[in-house]
C-alpha cells in the first residue's frame, strides 16, 4: 500500500457521519464525507476516493440512485462502494448488490469488521489494477 487510502462517506445522519469519519481517520484513512446526498457526486469526483461508504436511505437522493450515477460516470466508475444502511432486509441487500456494491453493512455494524472488509476490498483492487 502506498500512502493513505482515501475514503468517502455519504450519510445524511450527521452524528453517524462525524463518528465514522473520526474512527476511520484514527484507523489511518484519509476521510471526506457529506450529509447532503445531492452534493455527494460532485464531492466524490473532486476527492477521487479509493473506496466509498454509501448510506442507502437518504432524503432527496438515495444511496442506490447515487450508486447508479457513480457507475454511469466514467470518472467514478470502478470505485468500490460499500453500502452502509439501516435497512437490512434481503430485498434491500439484493438490490444493492445488483447495482454493483461490493459490500453491505447493516447499521449498527461492527466497526472492526467494516475496516477489515474495506482493507480486503482495497487490497483486491490494488492486485487487479495494472
Amino acid at each position: 500500500m502506498t500512502g493513505k487510502k482515501k475514503v468517502f462517506i455519504a450519510d445524511d445522519d450527521e452524528p453517524a457521519l462525524i463518528s465514522l469519519k473520526k474512527l476511520l481517520s484514527l484507523s489511518g484513512f484519509e476521510v471526506e464525507g457529506t450529509s447532503k446526498p445531492k452534493e455527494a457526486l460532485a464531492a466524490i469526483k473532486s476527492f477521487k476516493p479509493d473506496i466509498i461508504l454509501l448510506d442507502l436511505l437518504m432524503p432527496g437522493l438515495g444511496g442506490l440512485e447515487i450508486c447508479v450515477m457513480l457507475n454511469e460516470d466514467k470518472a467514478t466508475q470502478g470505485i468500490p462502494i460499500i453500502a452502509v444502511s439501516a435497512l437490512g432486509g434481503y430485498t434491500d441487500i439484493k438490490k444493492a448488490y445488483k447495482l454493483g456494491v461490493v459490500g453491505y453493512f447493516t447499521k449498527p455494524y461492527d466497526y472492526e469488521k467494516l475496516v477489515e472488509e474495506m482493507n480486503k476490498i482495497l487490497a483486491r483492487k490494488e492486485n487487479t489494477e495494472p
Binding site: D13, P15, S19, L23, L26, L57, A86, P108, Y109
Partner: protein, 486 residues
C-alpha cells in the same frame, strides 16, 4: 076510548074514577121515567161493559141536554183518554219489545230463587228450548246446562254477588248454546228493588264475548310471541354488538399494527442510525483511551454527547412507537392536541423525509386541552398524515411535496380545528362520498387496507368531533378536524 070509558066509570063511582086516574097517571109516569132515565142508563151500562172488555172504541150518543146528557159526554171524554192511554201503552210495549227482542244481548228477569220470570228472544234461541221451558226454569239450567247454581272459582254467580254487595256486577261466564258448544259470556246482573228498597228481582244481561276473548287470547299470544321474539332479538343484537365491538377493537388494533408495519422501515432507520452512532462513538472513546496519548478531552466530551443525544433519539422513537401501538384503554383524559401531533410526527417524519416531503407546522402555542383518548387521536393524525404522504408520493412530482399541519383554537365555537393539507394527487369527486367507508381504497393491493380514514372518522366521531375533507384532483387535499374543548 079510555076517556070515554073513564067517564062512564066515574059516572058510576067517583072512587073508582079516582083509582082509574091514579093508575093512568102511574102508567104515564112509568113511561115518562122509562124514556127519561132507564133507557139512557141502559146504554151507559152497555158501554161500560164494552170498556170492561177493553173496547175503547165505544161512544155514547145521547142527545139530551140534562144531567144524563152531561154524564154521557163525560163518559165519552173519559173513554177517549183511556183509549189514548191504551194506545200509548201498546206503542210503549211494542218499543220495549222491539228493543229487548232485537238486541244481541240475552236479557232475563230472575226472581230471588234464580228462576226465570221473563227472557228475551236471544235467550230462548240460544238455549234451544221452548219459551215455556225457559220461563219458570232456573237460569243455571238454561244457560249453563247444570243442575246446581254457579259457584266460584269456575263461574262466580253474579246474582249472589249482587245480593252480597247490593250493586250491579259483571262477570265472565262459560255458557253453552243449543248445540252444546261452549262460549264465553259477559254476564251483568242488576238489582230490582221494591218500594221498601228490598231486592226482589234481578235483571240478567249476557253477551257473547267469545270473539272478543279469542281476539284477546290471540293478542296475548301474539304479544308473548313478540316479547319472546323481541327478547331473542335483543339477545341477538347484544351478542352481535359484543361481537362487532370485539371485531372493531381487533380491527382497530389490526389497522394500528398495519400502520406500525408501514412505519417499520422508517423506524428501523430512525433507530439504527443513532445505535450506529452510539456504537461508533463508544469505539472511538475506547480507541482514543487505548492510544493513551494526546487525546483531546473536548473531543471525548463531544463523542459522549453524541452517545447521549443518540440514546435520547432512540428513546423518543421507541416511546412514540410504544404509545402508538399501545391498546387504547378507552379512558379519556386531558389531552394536548399539539403533543399528540408532535408524537405522530416523530414516527412519520423519517419516512416522509425520504419522499422529499416537507412538513410545515403551524401549531398554535396556547391551545386549550381537550378531553379524549390520546392513543386514538394519535391514530387519527397518523392515518391522515400517512395518507397525505402516500398522495404526494403517488403524484410522482420530482420536487416532492408539502404537508401542512395547522392547529387553531376557535374561541367562538370553543373548539380546536386541525387542518392537514397536502399537495398530493387529490381525491376524485366520485370517491369523496365513500372516503370514510371501511375497506374503501383506491390504493393498490399491499399499499393500504382501506381502514385508515374509516378508523379516523370513527375516532373523531367518538370524540363528538367532525372531520371534513376538501380536495382538488392533482392539486391536493385538506382534512379539517374539529374537536370540542370540554
Amino acid at each position: 076510548m079510555f076517556l070515554l070509558h073513564r067517564f062512564e066509570i066515574v059516572k058510576e063511582s067517583p072512587y073508582l074514577m079516582a083509582l082509574v086516574d091514579a093508575v093512568a097517571l102511574g102508567i104515564i109516569i112509568n113511561f115518562g121515567l122509562y124514556f127519561l132515565l132507564s133507557r139512557p142508563f141502559n146504554k151507559i151500562f152497555r158501554a161500560m161493559d164494552k170498556v170492561g172488555e177493553e173496547d175503547f172504541s165505544v161512544r155514547l150518543t145521547l142527545k139530551q141536554n140534562d144531567e144524563i146528557g152531561q154524564l154521557a159526554e163525560s163518559f165519552n171524554n173519559m173513554i177517549s183518554s183511556l183509549q189514548k192511554a191504551e194506545e200509548e201503552k201498546i206503542q210503549r210495549n211494542q218499543f220495549i219489545e222491539t228493543v229487548t227482542q232485537g238486541i244481541e244481548e240475552g236479557l232475563m228477569l230472575l226472581d230471588t230463587n234464580l228462576k226465570i220470570l221473563w227472557a228475551n228472544k236471544k235467550v230462548i234461541e240460544s238455549s234451544g228450548l221452548k219459551r215455556d221451558e225457559v220461563i219458570g226454569n232456573y237460569c243455571y239450567k238454561v244457560t249453563h246446562r247444570r243442575d246446581d247454581p254457579c259457584k266460584a272459582p269456575q263461574d262466580i254467580c253474579p246474582i249472589s254477588e249482587v245480593i252480597k254487595t247490593g250493586k250491579p256486577v259483571t262477570v265472565l261466564h262459560t255458557h253453552f248454546d243449543k248445540e252444546g258448544n261452549k262460549f264465553y259470556a259477559e254476564v251483568s246482573a242488576y238489582p230490582v228493588r221494591d218500594n221498601k228498597g228490598a231486592i226482589v228481582r234481578f235483571i240478567h244481561v249476557s253477551h257473547n264475548v267469545t270473539e272478543r276473548i279469542r281476539m284477546i287470547e290471540e293478542l296475548k299470544s301474539a304479544k308473548a310471541k313478540i316479547e319472546e321474539y323481541s327478547q331473542t332479538l335483543e339477545d341477538k343484537v347484544e351478542e352481535r354488538t359484543k361481537e362487532l365491538k370485539a371485531t372493531q377493537a381487533k380491527l382497530l388494533q389490526a389497522g394500528k399494527m398495519a400502520a406500525v408495519g408501514q412505519l417499520a422501515s422508517g423506524v428501523a432507520h430512525e433507530l439504527n442510525n443513532p445505535l450506529s452512532t452510539i456504537l461508533n462513538n463508544a469505539k472511538l472513546i475506547k480507541i482514543i483511551i487505548a492510544q493513551g496519548k494526546d487525546f483531546n478531552l473536548g473531543e471525548l466530551k463531544e463523542d459522549a454527547e453524541f452517545i447521549e443525544e443518540s440514546v435520547s433519539r432512540c428513546k423518543k422513537i421507541t416511546q412514540s412507537l410504544l404509545d402508538f401501538s399501545h391498546v387504547s384503554t378507552g379512558q379519556w383524559q386531558s389531552v394536548s392536541v399539539n403533543e399528540v401531533i408532535e408524537k405522530v410526527l416523530v414516527l412519520v417524519e423519517h419516512d416522509i423525509k425520504f419522499k422529499d416531503i416537507i412538513i410545515q407546522k403551524d401549531l398554535q402555542g396556547d391551545l386549550p386541552r381537550i378531553k379524549g383518548d390520546p392513543q386514538l387521536l394519535q391514530e387519527v393524525f397518523f392515518n391522515i398524515i400517512a395518507n397525505a404522504s402516500w398522495a404526494i408520493e403517488k403524484k410522482g412530482d420530482e420536487k416532492g411535496g408539502t404537508i401542512t399541519i395547522k392547529s387553531q383554537y376557535h374561541k367562538d365555537a370553543n373548539s380546536i380545528v386541525i387542518l392537514i393539507s397536502d399537495t398530493g394527487i387529490g381525491i376524485a369527486k366520485d370517491n369523496l362520498d365513500r372516503l370514510f367507508e371501511a375497506f374503501f381504497t383506491t390504493k393498490d393491493v399491499g399499499e393500504g387496507t382501506g381502514l385508515g380514514l374509516s378508523i379516523a372518522y370513527n375516532i373523531v366521531k367518538s370524540h363528538k368531533g367532525t372531520i371534513e375533507v376538501e380536495s382538488q384532483e392533482h392539486k391536493g387535499t385538506t382534512f379539517k378536524i374539529t374537536l370540542a374543548v370540554s
